[in-house]
Every structure is written in C-alpha cells, then in structure tokens.
C-alpha cells in the first residue's frame, strides 16, 4: 500500500496515459537474538500500474519464529520449574538465569492487497484488505486512504483509516488475570477466544522545500479495545526480604489503549548523496512515552551502487502498570506486566545496506544490522537476591536481509 501511494503521488497530475508497468520486490530476512528468538521472514511485494493512474499492490509475508522468549518471571538463586502455557509438561531454569519459555514457535502468513484509483488529476483513493494467521492468532483488516496534491504537486496531504479485528486462541486457553501458575496443571482459565479491535487514523503531509529537500509529517491515532494481555507472560510474587519468587501469576493488561504517534522526516540531497533523518514521538494512555531517531546516509557511488550506513536510536519509558515483580503482602495493582517490552529501554541499531543495480536494471540489496536492547538490569527497589540478579539482560540481535527487485 505504501508503494502504491508513493506511485500514485508521482503519477497524479501528469497529463496523458502512463504506460503499464510492474514492479516486484522480494526479500528474505533472518533475525537472531543471542540465546533467544530466531525469526525467518520472506516477503513478496508486487505493484502493477494499470495506466491512467490505477495501481494495484499485493504483499505476501511468511514468517517462522522459534527459540526462547522471556516469560517475565524473575531469576532465582535456586533451580526453577515452570508449567508450559499449554499445561502439558514443564521447563526448568537454572539458578541465576532469566526464565525463558522455550515453547515459543510459530509460523505466520500475512496477505494484503490494495487498489488505488485516481479520482481526479490531483486526488487518489486507495482501498486495501489485510489478513494474517498463525496457530494461535488471526487478524483481518481493511483500510482506506485519500491523497491530494496541492501547489503544483509540491504539497501532498493524505488521510488514512484502518480497522483490524484480531482473535487470539492461545495454547491451553487464556489464563484468568493474576491466576497462579500451577505445577503441571492449568490455572483458572477465561472462556473462549480473546479478541481485540484496532482503529487507526492518520494524517500525513509531505512538502517539497526545494530541488534538494523534502519533508514529511505524519500523525497517527490508534485506539485498541479488547483483550491485550499476553497469555503466556508471568509476573513473579517475591518474598519481601529474600526476594526469592514465591509464586508466578499470569499477567493482566488493560482492555483499552489509545496511542498517538507523530513522525517528522527529512530527505535531503547532499552532493550526489542522500540524507534521511526521521524523528518519532509516541505516547499512549498506558503511560508509555518513546522517542525514535533514525538516520540513514545513502552514499551513491555512481548509478549502479549505493552504500547506506544507518543508525537508529530508541528510548522508551515504562508503562504505568509495568512491574518487574510484585511483593508478597503488598496491595495488588489493577494490572501488572513484567514483559520487558513494556519496560524502560534504550535501543540501538547500527547497520549497513548496500544496493547493486545490475545491467538489466534489477536491484540487489543486502542489509546487515545489529540490534541492541538495554534496560534496567538493577532497578532501585530490587529486593534481597534480586539486587544481585540481572533483571534486564541486554538483548543482542543480528538482522540480515537480502532483497531482489525487478521493474524499478
């Protein structure tokens, strides 16, 4: 849909009939965290311009995930045993190690398509559908976008709306909020599948400043209602003196979330090369605040080769209900999650991308990046033995992508 919109903005306003053209981009990506999650993704993205400004796009993704994912439970000085989410069997964690649930395996297919129709010389309408499925999760969505050019196509305003309906049917069913994880048995469960609905609204503005400069501004509003708890995640209840875990409870998140994101982007020609700089501010009513800075410098070594270093920096403040652990005897909060992805973190992604255009015009891209997630390893308030444990081990991941595109 993104490629279609970009093409639509380029085609609108040109007198005459643009020729038919097809652009196909493919990529495979490998993602590997040290000792944790591994993911493989394969993507095909095809865009066809029918002529007259009509554009169709199809995007198919396959991904396979495996490995171990932190359950949210705290490390202990003793060997720990955890019941698998399905209730069948256990997994153990050595003393001093972060409990990782190693039953994390999944494959997912996602398909989305869109059609862009020109309403007039400066206006385009895009409608799209989305569907994805994995063994415990499915999502269906529809979206609509309106773009309009102003000022001799120097200014483009776009309005987008998307709606998604997701269903989760976790292994073993959904645990009741704050249900105690029982030894080789299922804790109390909620009836039926969980579902959530997402409404996304966004407003975008792009503006050509001069021959060498383009800026973009995008505001995204998102409202999510329904089941948003992660049914596989735990929060430990620890002894108020020793800090040793006494119980592990299934987490509980609110069933409503309103999110706002504001993104500003600058693209600037510097000599024969291109600078891309973006900044995103995010806030939501779960108390999460984040800032993202992404810098890429595309060094064009002639028409057939580019080398693009990249650095992304991300800072996140924790959610209001994030609790690395709960303390026995203290009042229970309404909601709590120890999922590190809702905690305070600073992430760094240095990377490099190389693009090689073959004699036949096909483009080969190679991308390698290193993704570092750091958080509060020793938070204030870590009780007893927890003060000696690493409560947020740094996550280190390698990302490698190979792409091939034709018809560009």
């Amino acid at each position: 849909m993104k490629a279609a919109l970009a093409s639509a903005c380029g085609l609108l306003g040109i007198a005459g009939q643009p020729a038919e053209a097809t652009e196909v981009r493919t990529a495979i990506l490998g993602y590997s965290e040290q000792d944790r999650v591994q993911a493989f993704e394969a993507v095909i993205d095809a865009t066809h311009e029918f002529g007259g400004g009509k554009i169709g796009n199809l995007h198919v993704v396959y991904d396979a995930l495996s490995g171990a994912s932190p359950s949210g439970a705290v490390p202990s000085q003793a060997l720990q045993s955890f019941t698998r989410p399905s209730g069948n069997g256990v997994y153990t964690t050595a003393p001093g190690e972060t409990p990782l649930d190693d039953t994390f395996r999944d494959t997912r297919m996602a398909v989305s398509g869109s059609l862009t129709l020109p309403l007039d010389r400066v206006t385009g309408l895009t409608a799209g559908l989305y569907g994805s499925g994995e063994h415990d999760y499915s999502s269906l969505g529809a979206n609509l976008a309106l773009t309009r050019d102003f000022n001799r196509r120097n200014t483009t305003v776009s309005l987008r709306a998307g709606y998604f309906d997701d269903t989760i049917n976790p292994e073993g069913g959904r645990p009741a909020p704050f249900g105690v994880m029982l030894d080789q048995a299922l804790s109390p469960r909620l009836d039926g599948d969980g579902s959530k609905q997402t409404l996304d609204l966004s407003l975008g503005l792009t503006q050509v400043i001069d021959r060498r400069t383009l800026v973009g501004l995008n505001y995204v509003f998102s409202e999510v209602d329904g089941y948003q708890t992660d049914p596989y995640k735990l929060v430990s209840v620890v002894d108020p003196v020793s800090g040793e875990p006494l119980d592990h409870l299934y987490e509980s998140r609110p069933d409503a979330r309103v999110k706002h994101a504001l993104l500003a982007k600058l693209v600037r020609q510097v000599g024969a090369h291109n600078l891309h700089l973006s900044y995103r501010y995010f806030t939501d009513d779960w108390g999460v605040r984040s800032q993202t800075v992404d810098l890429r410098f595309r060094w064009n070594a002639g028409p057939a080769l580019y080398v693009q270093p990249r650095l992304r920096y991300y800072h996140q403040g924790e959610a209001d209900f994030y609790r690395r652990f709960l303390v026995e005897g203290a009042a229970m909060p309404d909601h709590a999650s120890a999922d590190y992805r809702l905690g305070a973190m600073d992430d760094y992604t240095p990377g490099l991308e190389v693009g090689i255009t073959r004699d036949n015009g096909h483009l080969i891209t190679l991308r390698a990046e290193y993704y570092l997630q750091t958080g509060e390893s020793h938070p204030a308030g870590a009780i007893g033995q927890l003060a000696d444990q690493d409560l947020f081990p740094t996550v280190k991941a390698v990302i490698v992508q190979v792409g091939y595109a034709v018809g560009l």
Binding site: L203, S222, Y314
Partner: protein, 79 residues
C-alpha cells in the same frame, strides 16, 4: 468507540493541516521541470516499502511503540 474529545482534536488537526497545505505552503516547492533530483530512488520518503514493512514488524514486536510514516498496521501475535 472513539472518545469524543480525541475525535474533535483529530478533526481540528486535519483542518489545520489542509489549510496549511492549501495556502501556507504555496510559496515553497519547485516547478515541474525542477524535479530531476527529487525523482531519484534515494530521494523518496520511503525508498523501499519492503524494508519499511520488515523493520516495522521487528520493532513493533520488540518495543511498545507503533505507528510511523505510512505504517499500515496489521495484527500479529508476535511475542
């Protein structure tokens, strides 16, 4: 489903941006024959939609934030 105050704020923002686009930005920009550099692949706001989509998926699976330039959303049980 959508909270009234937020809807009102969103609509006001839409009106402001459309007004800016129509009138306030009319002195900026280039003539149609000055688009040589802007048409190059490296000058697109999203040079590669596949890279953008793959990156979005990684980051919304590993972090708590979502949304960005043209982010199409889409659910997944990624944990």
């Amino acid at each position: 489903m959508m909270k009234t105050g937020t809807m009102r704020a969103f609509l006001i923002l839409c009106l402001i941006l459309v007004a800016l686009a129509g009138a306030g930005c009319s002195s900026l920009g280039v003539q149609p024959w000055e688009r040589d550099l802007l048409s190059a692949p490296g000058m697109q706001l999203q040079p590669d939609p596949v890279v953008t989509a793959l990156d979005d998926h990684i980051y919304f699976s590993k972090e708590a934030s979502t949304g960005g330039l043209g982010g199409a959303g889409g659910g997944c049980g990624c944990n």
